[in-house]
């Protein structure tokens, strides 16, 4: 069922993208316009979606969604990355990484608080030292200057 829905999504995506590409123009007086190449790609996306949708039912795979502990681990990683993306501009790299690491180690690994905090501190400090100090990368800093 999931794959069938995805195939419909490909068709809709390709069709709407083709309509948009058409509005950009196909061929003008100076040659091909901005819309030609994406239009061709969109038509292929839609066409492939139609072929996949028309395949016999045996070809459509059921998505093996993670369940129970597996689901929590996958969601923990996604949550950790969301925290990084939301927190980094305000809290800086070090603090956000530290918080993310604790989330990951607690939700994914089920580490104890002591080992989660210790490991989060060591890994964050190591990455910050390596990239921020040794390699001179400009990592975002928080209101505390680090």
């Amino acid at each position: 069922m999931f794959e069938r829905t995805l195939n419909v999504f490909w068709i809709v995506l390709g069709a709407s993208s083709a309509v948009y590409a058409w509005s950009l123009g196909m061929i003008g007086p100076a040659g091909p316009e901005s819309g030609l190449f994406p239009f061709i790609a969109s038509i292929i996306v839609s066409g492939a979606g139609i072929v996949l949708l028309l395949r016999p039912a045996t070809h459509a795979r059921a998505l093996d969604f993670p369940q129970g502990g597996s689901l929590w681990r996958v969601l923990g990683v996604i949550l950790g990355l969301i925290v990084m993306a939301v927190g980094m501009p305000y809290l800086g790299f070090s603090v956000t990484s530290f918080i993310t690491m604790i989330i990951l180690l607690r939700t994914v690994d089920r580490s104890s608080w002591i080992s989660a905090v210790t490991l989060a501190f060591i890994s964050t400090a190591s990455v910050f030292w390596l990239f921020g100090q040794m390699l001179g990368m400009a990592l975002p800093r928080g209101p505390w200057g680090w």
Partner: protein, 497 residues
């Protein structure tokens, strides 16, 4: 011939500086580590370290990235042989006989023949590359936009031919790669495409965010789903040097693997993974006692390990001499060169001989570094396997964030990475091959430019693609290959491909 040798000598002149030697060694070291550790592939490692190369000279950066690529091929065998877990995809097939040898107490000779075979094949591959790449570039220098367009189309069709899953899904991935690449400003007229008035999207989708998401984050999501709370351990290894009987059984497999790997590396869609599998199949087919395979046959280690190393040299030829990547790793290398302001292609060797010959020379030296790193220091790499994945993955995730952010210093790229990570995770579950997507994403700007230039220079519209003999030949080959591919898939799958 003499020109190539002179070029190679000048390449050694470029590479034999303390800074470049250090970067070559560092890349070999990181590559081996990446190969040894399961769950961190060479593509993700290259993507993570790409921003580091922005601060280096183009030659230093490329030497380091290339050495990570071939270093991973060396290191991958260690985990396959000792633990029956492939360190990276090209070492999957090494598990079959390599681990059986380890269970029979012959881990040493298995590791030894893998490292020595890799060294021989890697060096042979670079020797052929030394003479072959300039010849290809010299032939391709006469190519105009229509020929380039047809060549890229053929490359993409070859990619489809080599993928393991559904061809239609592969076609869809290529088209999606094209569409994703068109997000941003049209380089010809500055018009916005698919940006939805977003400032963040007007610069286009960042290659690093896309690759790290699809191959780094998606890999982590897959791994944590099935993560077991175990630490990988391996027994002590003794006697790395293969016996005379081992040599007798292996040397032909090493040479065959070297040749096969090189050829398959050249073919778009080929590369180290395909080369290793094909080599194993070949060795098994021609063996006097094929039933030995799967029970610890040393040829089953020597052939594939040689093939995947030789394929690295082969796969660098199309990207450096034609500007066409044959797999996602070389697509990323192409991206790295473009970011440095260098456009690989037929003129690359003539315009940047220092860079081309420097990379080639570094591969000779890198192979020596890798032999030294992988034989005497194998015990050290085994110690790394004691780090549990549950401890390792949060650090890898942090590296993904740093790698993505550092490209543009833009938090928006982290959302792009997360989006592609989740998408890649779901698509992999549904057996979509992501390699054609990345190759198409990198090739799209070049392909679109060639198509538009071809149509502008033509008085008969698209007929220019048929009227020029080389273009017509390449497109005819694409059509023939497409026909063969659909026929083969329809036969084997008994339905739509």
């Amino acid at each position: 011939m003499m020109e190539a040798l002179n070029g190679l000598l000048s390449g050694f002149g470029v590479i034999l500086t303390p800074a470049n030697l250090y970067l070559c060694f560092l890349g070999s070291l990181i590559g081996t580590l990446v190969g040894v550790l399961p769950g961190v592939g060479p593509l993700a490692a290259l993507a993570l370290l790409l921003p580091v190369t922005f601060t280096l000279s183009p030659i230093g950066g490329m030497v380091m990235l290339a050495s990570i690529f071939y270093g991973a091929m060396y290191g991958g065998s260690t985990t396959s042989i000792l633990l029956n877990i492939p360190g990276e995809a090209a070492s999957v097939v090494t598990c079959i006989d390599g681990h059986q040898m380890a269970r029979q107490g012959r881990a040493g000779p298995a590791l030894g023949i893998a490292a020595i075979g890799s060294f021989i094949a890697g060096t042979l591959g670079v020797v052929i590359m030394t003479f072959f790449a300039p010849a290809i570039a010299a032939a391709a220098i006469r190519f105009g936009p229509p020929e380039n367009f047809a060549l890229m189309v053929l490359g993409l069709i070859c990619t489809l031919f080599m993928i393991s899953g559904s061809t239609i899904k592969g076609v869809l991935m290529i088209a999606l790669g094209f569409l994703t690449a068109t997000v941003g400003l049209d380089v010809v007229n500055g018009r916005e495409r698919y940006t939805f008035s977003s400032v963040d999207l007007s610069g286009g989708i960042e290659l690093l965010a896309l690759v790290i998401g699809l191959f780094g984050v998606a890999e982590i999501l897959s791994n944590v789903e099935t993560m077991a709370k175990t630490t990988l351990l391996a027994d002590r290894i003794r006697g790395l040097w293969p016996s005379l009987a081992d040599w007798h059984a292996s040397w032909r497999a090493i040479l065959r693997g070297s040749g096969l790997g090189f050829v398959l590396g050249l073919v778009p869609g080929g590369g180290p993974v395909t080369a290793a599998f094909m080599s194993y199949a070949l060795e098994k087919r021609i063996a006097a006692q094929p039933d030995r395979f799967g029970k610890g046959a040393i040829e089953g280690v020597a052939g594939p390990e040689s093939a995947n190393n030789s394929a690295v040299a082969g796969s660098l030829i199309p990207v450096l001499s034609l500007g066409i990547p044959s797999n996602p790793v070389t697509a990323l290398l192409l991206g790295a060169l473009i970011i440095q302001g260098i456009q690989p292609g037929p003129l690359f060797i003539a315009q940047r001989p220092d860079l081309f010959w420097g990379i080639v020379a570094s591969m000779y030296i890198g192979n020596v570094f890798l032999l030294l790193l992988n034989l005497p220091l194998v015990g050290l790499w085994v110690q790394f396997l004691r780090i549990p994945y549950r401890v390792m993955f949060p650090v890898v995730l942090l590296l993904c964030v740093v790698g993505t952010y550092s490209a543009n210093k833009n938090v928006f790229d982290l959302w792009v990475m997360l989006g592609f990570g989740v998408t890649g995770y779901v698509l992999r579950k549904l057996e979509y091959d992501l390699a054609p997507f990345v190759i198409a994403f990198v090739l799209a700007p070049l392909l679109e430019q060639s198509l538009r230039q071809s149509l502008v220079m033509s008085s008969d519209g698209a007929m220019i693609l048929i009227k020029r003999p080389v273009t017509a030949l390449l497109l005819a080959a694409s059509v023939a290959l497409t026909f063969l591919m659909f026929r083969r898939r329809t036969k084997t799958e008994g339905g739509l491909p």
